[in-house]
């Protein structure tokens, strides 16, 4: 670690303390989206922000070690596939595309399950996209 970074003890300690709670809060926003304000997009941004904070304090290299770009790239596409996969699944269950009322016997439970998985897909993609954007901007000029 560079000597400049060693001076920022307060930043490093506070960041280390905060990051787990940021991640936890993101998960809360993610899964509470059914009942209150929140949902996949907001949660994804918060989750991604934790990684961005980590990168800002500890450097790009360590952020890339924590979130390998190759895996992040896969996550970007997995989230979308999860979303669309729910649509296809409801088509196989006899409904229209994205008609997730048919996913369970009870339409209400089906809607519930459908939106949960869809929002999870959104969350994953947004998180990964946020991190990718940060990596690209932070890595500019380093080739």
């Amino acid at each position: 670690m560079s000597p400049v970074r060693r001076q920022h003890v307060i930043l490093r300690v506070v960041a280390k303390l905060l990051i787990p709670y940021i991640l936890l809060f993101a998960l809360y926003v993610q899964f509470h989206g059914d009942y209150g304000p929140g949902g996949g997009f907001q949660a994804g941004v918060i989750f991604g922000a934790a990684f961005v904070l980590y990168g800002l304090i500890f450097g790009l290299e360590r952020a890339k070690a924590a979130a390998p770009p190759r895996i992040i790239e896969i996550l970007v596409s997995l989230g979308v596939l999860l979303f669309a996969g729910v649509g296809v699944a409801s088509m196989f269950k006899g409904g229209n595309f994205l008609d997730y009322g048919v996913l369970e016997h009870d339409p209400l439970a089906g809607q519930h399950l459908g939106i949960l998985v869809i929002e999870l897909g959104v969350g994953i993609t947004v998180t990964a996209a946020m991190i990718t954007l940060y990596f690209y901007f932070a890595g500019r000029g380093r080739a």
Partner: protein, 491 residues
């Protein structure tokens, strides 16, 4: 499964795009992309057959009925647009591997296919949906991915061209969004069919007029209607050949479709052409565009840029057809959407073959190319003849309908100008022919035809543009039915 074809049409390429990132290997991704494009084409052929049998297909996404939910509403016009986009996408991507290997850095090639599939998804989404806001969303999907595609060009000027397109495209999209906002405020609905029934009572209100104007200008930018075309020549010139071929053959065409749908299905042509002076505007701008762009095309040294200006002129013919607001005028416009897609797609694919072999798109470097690449050049010449509108090519069919429409309205001078403008096309096509066939090849140049994987798709498009020039009943027949549907005058 046939009931779900509308959803599959969009979901298939939309899901295939992220899946490409998982495959990652260049050959795998390209092969997979080609397969998906041809499957999409099969789906759209299924949709065309359904619309021919039952008329209009309505598909409610998520089981939510319109006007609350988003519905896909497919009639003959957009089913054939879908078939056009997916066919061109499939042919161009089949052609792509060899050309990409030369024009795009190896590390970016696996990213090309997802962007391409997304662009195709966006264009088909615009065509398939019956929801005005959904049109905007898909417009952004296709625009954003086409910015990415254009910026892949090897020439660094591709980046400035992309930025220019991005700025102007965003302005266009913003205008469209403002218009949709105004309409939503007035009618309380986003469903196009529902909006059409409500808008009649409000036709005298200024907000509705403003919405109409915003939309027409916004789409005008996307259509590259003169004088809103400035983004197009640079974008087409510096993009990789494959991207140019795909976008030139589909992107502006789908925008023309949006204009048709908005003017005729949402507002109705009485409003557009009686309360608003759209016909005079379109007539004047399209004629100006045809002449100015054709004249500029004559003086270009880069053939891709020349073809790009010619595209601006050809868009002028489509808009000219719309401005007549008659069955034969609209038939001309719609048939020209298809015909121009075939010939311009074929011409740009032939250009891609030339760039692959001589590494340049400059007219001076093409000396003796008629002997060095006879098959490619012959395809190019046939495409050029079609641009001019020589009988037995598709260009002739479109011009025939347009001139017929002009004469119906007693606009003799318009018919005369349309014929005169063909002479300008003769000039710019001839310049290339002269250099390629009548100038000696540089010493040491040998015969090196493009690989078959590129020649066959090129000839497919060029062949189609001759075939449909002779067998006019397929394209013109469908266009005529679609035009009658738009004007609401029975099939």
């Amino acid at each position: 499964m046939s009931a779900h074809l509308p959803a599959l049409q969009i979901a298939l390429p939309l899901m295939a795009a992220p899946f490409c990132l998982l495959l990652r290997k260049r050959q795998l991704v390209l092969g997979f992309g080609i397969l998906v494009c041809w499957l999409s084409f099969a789906v759209s052929v299924g949709l065309v057959r359904q619309t021919l049998e039952v008329g209009e297909i309505v598909y409610s996404l998520g089981g939510w009925d319109a006007p609350w939910g988003i519905e896909y509403r497919i009639d003959l016009l957009n089913a054939s647009m879908l078939a056009l986009v997916s066919l061109i996408a499939a042919i161009v991507l089949t052609y792509a591997p060899a050309s990409l290997a030369r024009e795009i850095p190896e590390s970016k090639q696996y990213l090309f296919v997802p962007a391409y599939l997304l662009s195709m998804t966006g264009l088909m989404g615009i065509a398939i949906t019956g929801d005005l806001f959904n049109v905007f969303v898909f417009l952004e999907v296709s625009s954003l991915s086409s910015y990415a595609l254009i910026s892949l060009g090897r020439d660094r000027r591709a980046l400035t061209a992309t930025l220019q397109y991005l700025v102007l495209g965003t302005i266009g999209a913003t205008f469209i969004l403002i218009s949709i906002g105004l309409l939503y405020m007035m009618t309380g609905t986003l469903n196009m069919a529902d909006m059409a029934t409500r808008i009649g009572a409000m036709e005298s209100m200024r907000t509705v007029h403003a919405a109409f104007a915003f939309f027409c200008v916004g789409v005008g930018l996307k259509v590259a209607l003169f004088p809103l075309h400035v983004w197009l020549p640079n974008a087409y010139t510096y993009a990789p050949s494959v991207v140019t071929a795909f976008l030139a053959a589909t992107s502006t065409k789908v925008s023309v479709y949006v204009l048709l749908r908005f003017v005729f299905s949402v507002y109705g042509y009485e409003f557009a052409f009686s309360s608003m002076p759209l016909d005079t505007m379109l007539l004047a701008l399209s004629l100006l565009g045809i002449f100015v762009a054709s004249a500029v095309a004559i003086f270009q040294r880069n053939i891709k840029r020349m073809l790009a200006y010619s595209s601006v002129a050809q868009v002028g013919y489509m808009v000219l057809g719309i401005s007549f607001a008659s069955v034969s005028g609209l038939t001309g416009a719609i048939v020209h959407i298809f015909n121009h897609a075939l010939m311009k797609g074929g011409l740009f694919l032939a250009m891609g073959c030339i760039v692959l072999r001589i590494g340049s798109a400059r007219i001076d470097d093409m000396a003796g190319l008629g002997k060095r690449m006879p098959l490619t050049m012959f395809a190019w010449v046939l495409g050029g003849l079609s641009l001019i509108g020589v009988p037995l090519t598709v260009g002739f069919v479109s011009k025939w309908y347009l001139i017929e429409a002009a004469l119906e309205k007693d606009l003799w001078w318009v018919a005369g100008l349309a014929l005169l403008s063909s002479l300008l096309a003769v000039l710019y096509v001839w310049r290339v022919v002269e250099v390629a066939y009548f100038r000696e090849a540089p010493a040491g140049a040998q015969r090196e035809e493009a690989p078959l994987s590129m020649l066959i798709p090129t000839w497919l498009l060029i062949g189609a543009s001759v075939l449909f020039g002779i067998r006019t009943e397929w394209t013109a027949g469908i266009a005529q039915k679609a035009a009658a549907l738009l004007l609401g005058v029975g099939p």
